[in-house]
Symmetry: D2
Subunit: 433 residues, 4 copies
């Protein structure tokens, strides 16, 4: 990895960050039993125990192995067992079988974490090499990504259980204001996109480059559950007009009629599964657990209903808007730190202002996940981090209620295939000016 | 259930048996962590936790619900969650998703067991209804079947782990005698088959009925690993002549070249996975973890090699032979009680005597699993126990090293599809006289 | 092949039979266009063109190649292309891709037939070797089997076409008598089963052997469409009580609610697809295109409805009954020769007599397709004809409206998997006496 | 459809074009037998007979039904049978079952063509409505697309036949010059992309819009078979470094080691299947039948080998270059009109000039198939032509040896999923300047 700009390293600061992120991961796993941490509910998800081990493997493999004098692996078998997809590092345990690894058990994985933590802290005692500092920062951002996945994956697992168990009994309360959907306009032109400045960013956010934008507008807020129910009631899932051909095939073959986790309540209403258990669908809350096909179909339907050239935003439009002066993009922002773990309704209307840009739900864009012009993957094994996934996926922006606030940036590019629904993914609309 | 013959019931005897079987199940699960008890390694297997709960559900649903005054379920949701396949009882949780039920956790399942045990014991205090006694006996035999499955299923799960973890470190030691394969002849004629006498038997062992047998002979012992390696070395898995058409398709499409769990050791030899960890294949041990296609192909190959009309025995031949005077069929018998949990080599040769008829490995027969003439399934929900599986399966006889000795009889009919390999299943040969 | 008994061979008689069978196959293909002869509608079926070529390949490979001086293949590539499953002969073109072989075209396949016919006739000029005579007889019976498959396969193909095209406009007319279902009793005992006498039989019909039968009765006639509709109206396809576990899974996963080819006519009635086009379901016609699961479920349902121990017959019971003095088993018999190509209703009631034993529909039995005691497959490549399919299939007896009359015997064993429906397969009931 | 600009219509000119395109389609089918025209070799392809009918259906449904007084369909069932994917028109026959429609047979489909041709010609007698003229032009371009598909689909079908039949015996001969790969540079900047001018274009080529390009260069010619063999010999298909993650999974799971249709010749060389039969791979010919994963991997490998920032071109870069003054982009151009039906080697080197931009093989780009800014699909059913496929596909440019010359433009956007290989698709390289 050569990309993060070099800077004077303050080892104790790094150590503090390290401790904070590492303990937060354990805190997220705390409400879970050993049984909860074991299974894999579908090939796309991973067991909690695997997440706990894999992020630790990252530090052991990319930092301790290189920087620790007399490095000895905690357990040589873990090199394969907890490698996700780094071909450069060697073999990987088959992804769909992560839930079958019962040994090491949870206690041993926690011992693994503790051992690596201890050695990492020891490494951070003296002066710190720039490369080490950069890899450590990468490792922490990597772990924060897995914090989010841990939450979305455990939600998916618990939702399979007919007992509908609760991850956290705490239910986020907030007052609700019905906020009309309005449009915030941008002039476009040749603008800059991509990461700028000193802080950490993934290689896929670089290089900063010019983009040409036509005039456009974004909706002031996210699409709500209430608005989604209107789409459903108008036959949205039954009408091929709104759907990409591949999306319509998905709807038909999977018999889709609502977002993931929704169940009809038998009285004309809907419930959904949350990390706080099953709950009625609240009309003011941003819609979540929709995939790109659904987001795109909604925009297409809304364009006809509202007689406006409505569509999903491109990632360049989104980023430019998020960086606009009045955006104040992630304040207040419903992130993992809030512990709501569910998108929240708006509590006040700020005329002419973009709201909910940061947090709540990842916002699907109209952009394919492709390399920026002049993109170069990092050197070495960490070069497998992003580049090799740049095909057949769509970009999402803005972070969600499961994203740590310190993890996200306006230039941050998340990406998922068009049929993925188990993330906290929702919709902001755009339109041509 | 009307079939087991009525008899004076001794409640305290039943209570003793109940306690013995129930505690043995827990003893089998004792070496396992909560993590080990959670996952399901393939749709055919079940998690240990599910086994522990399901056998308890059987007593709760078929006995407590009917005989307990003021019956209250331990948890109403368990009625669906731990129902295996009883349509009469209602819905079932989808079989392939048993590993995703993380709650109840293991402690709660054990509490469920304890609660049902307490209530069952209380029910067995006074005089006991004949129906209750019969259902209880059925429930205990049912639980013994699941003891065996618990062992074969956990073996399959642990075998998926590249760390090759050990269920029990204890390794069975015994002296070994190389025993030649010889033939024990039987005259045949019209003989009786099926359950006779007072003891418990499943409905599928009835009614007792005449069978017409041609003269035949059985091999004195089971086919060994050493003999299997000869088959492999002579190209057995590469030659379509030995295989049923469907078996050849299985070999080709799955690229099968050895029994389940075998790995080449890189030095021309083989290892296999056992409940005591990975171990070299011992040539004197009975072959196990072969399916019907393999057993049948072996017999076909051996017939040509030995220039004899060798084949698999029919179940009627097997049963008749096992009941012959000199058979002493399950003494000594390597059953679950021995705790070897692996087939064992013979230690001495008894000329003219059938050895290893009981225990070690289930013996594939040439017989399809079909109803006996005049077969009637038990009345009520327990009528779903056996009858509805009487198609597309083959019969196995004799019990294995994972079968409790008190569970097995010479009339006992086990059955599995032709491609099942994860049971302790092996081969005894037969030939026309 | 060593099995058919040797006899003085009359070459000119063989030549006459040869010509008759061969021209009948072409006659069956005559109503079909080249387009009709090309596609394969599912992996179980074959294109008409492939049938025409494969039966020719049989004569070329097993007779001409061995007996013709200076044998030259018509086209060496056909050896692989038109080999069905004879491993001994060598490679086979993958079965599911038979429909993609557009060259040779139909004209060339007919030229292939003509060439082989010419050479076969030439071979039959002089005195004929016994082996040749036996192989020729086998080849003709083989071709007759493919005549039936040609009809059932083309029916399946045409049924996929929304235009519902007609194979033959000729519609069989006959008067109809409503014939009550009664029982014809048999005493059982030790009886003989299997082929006896001089005529041709397949190896799977041998050896003739003793079978022990309990007293039993067969229904005087086949189950009718009208009786099947009663089963459907009483919820037969929705009630797991009637179904084997694997059958219930089939019904549920495939959403089965009627026999193959049936469509609701929108007015409470049903139509079915026939070789004469789509037609209303006639209540007096024997039910056809049901699989073993359905046949078995029907018997189970009828047993409860009629309060009788009704079940499917075993193949031994069926064969014994068919050979009983009064059975006159295939007179008149609705076979291929009648050109009805559809099961026909009875036209008169013959009290105490088994009717419809031969022809109309193949009758599912309760017997798995297994080798008879002492069975030996024929020597050489033709030994692959039957033996290697003796697992995971059920036996059917009696022939159908697509079977040539000269092809069938009371000892004839047909076999299909439990889910096969595209044959003319139906139901005769049995009961314990 | 409102998009093609209105213009004075010359009916006789349209009639001439109509006749030319329609007869060319029949000419392409002329070497095929009725058998060749029937099957469907995979779900992605269609039978020749279906192509012949579907393009006719297009004229009947979109023009005759609207403009013909007293319109009567040729056969009402064809409306469903030959509808490809127009939901607005109604139901469609299931795509994977197109090969099972044996009736209408080929003669009837040709009669259908003749009937529609006659009625179209009659419609073109008088003055022609602008809408009609535009739809007719669309229909002709539609038919030209299917001409190309007819060729690639029949190639795929014939290649499945072990006899490796020949579509056309004529083998294109040409002299060969080994032309070095050099780079032609472009300055970039804000340039125009998308269709301009009066001629026909699909809706997906509009609107014309600004694009911002960094300086770049394109390779002067296509990557050749010889260069591809170097990639293979250097282990290209065995090294995950060159592959997108999804591409590596494809290579591994499908065991890919060469382009589609290639077979090792047993002497260290390779052959490939062509429309003229199987032929040795010629090192000077442009590589074809590679998918996007392969094209992208090749560029990645070449970048490391040549130590240059090599990659695939974006579609904007390609289009800008093709429109550059010296490009003369499709002269001479190896198109369908040449009847070579195979990519051809260069015969001379033109220094500093882009060669092979038009024809030979479609060139994979680095661009996802997405709508241009401000894109609007055509109104009505023809709006389903392009827009609903704008996801999960990559753009290809330039046309191939199977494309009619009059069909292609520099703004033309073809698109296929990343794993499609049966088109004539190849590789031109780009690099950052």
């Amino acid at each position: 990895m050569t990309s993060p700009s070099s800077r004077p390293v303050q080892a104790h600061l790094l150590a503090t960050e390290f401790a904070a992120v590492r303990s937060q991961t354990l805190a997220l796993a705390a409400p879970l039993s050993e049984a909860d941490c074991q299974p894999q509910s579908m090939p796309d998800t991973s067991p909690t125990k695997w997440h706990l081990a894999h992020v630790t493997w990252f530090f052991e493999t990319f930092i301790l192995e290189r920087f620790e004098p007399q490095f000895e692996p905690f357990n040589p078998a873990f090199r394969v067992l907890f490698n996700s997809y780094y071909q450069t590092v060697g073999e990987q345990h088959p992804r769909p079988q992560r839930g079958l690894i019962t040994r090491p058990d949870l206690a041993e994985v926690k011992a693994y974490r503790a051992d690596v933590d201890r050695r990492m802290v020891s490494l951070l005692q003296g002066s710190v090499d720039t490369d080490l500092a950069e890899l450590l920062t990468l490792g922490l951002h990597h772990e924060q990504q897995h914090q989010e996945l841990l939450l979305t994956d455990i939600k998916h697992l618990l939702a399979q259980n007919p007992l509908q168990p609760v991850y956290s009994a705490h239910w986020p309360l907030c007052s609700v204001t019905s906020v009309p959907l309005t449009w915030v306009a941008f002039e476009g032109g040749v603008v800059d996109n991509g990461h700028a400045g000193e802080g950490f960013a993934f290689d896929n956010e670089s290089p900063r480059h010019n983009v040409l934008l036509q005039p456009y507008a974004l909706s002031n807020r996210l699409v709500t559950h209430g608005e989604w129910v209107e789409f459903m009631q108008s036959g949205g899932y039954q009408d091929p007009r709104w759907w990409m051909s591949a999306g319509w095939e998905w709807v038909q073959s999977q018999r889709i009629a609502a977002p993931l986790y929704w169940l009809a309540d038998g009285a004309g209403g809907w419930t959904t599964f949350t990390l706080h258990g099953r709950a009625p669908v609240d009309p003011h809350t941003p819609v979540c657990h929709v995939n790109w096909f659904e987001a795109d179909a909604y925009a297409r339907w809304r364009a006809v209903r509202d007689q406006l050239p409505i569509r999903l935003p491109t990632e360049a439009e989104w980023e430019h808007a998020a960086q606009s002066p009045g955006a104040d993009w992630h304040i207040p922002g419903n992130f993992q730190d809030n512990r709501a773990l569910h998108p929240l309704p708006l509590t006040r209307h700020q005329a002419g202002q973009l709201q909910q840009m940061g947090g709540d739900v990842w916002e699907w864009t109209a952009s394919s996940y492709l390399p920026y012009p002049g993109y170069r993957a990092w050197a070495g094994a960490v070069g497998e981090y992003n580049g090799k996934f740049m095909v057949n996926q769509m970009v999402l922006r803005g972070g969600s209620c499961a994203t740590p606030r310190s993890h996200i940036r306006t230039s941050y590019r998340n990406f998922f295939p068009t049929d993925a629904r188990w993330q906290f993914s929702g919709v902001r609309l755009a339109r041509d000016a």
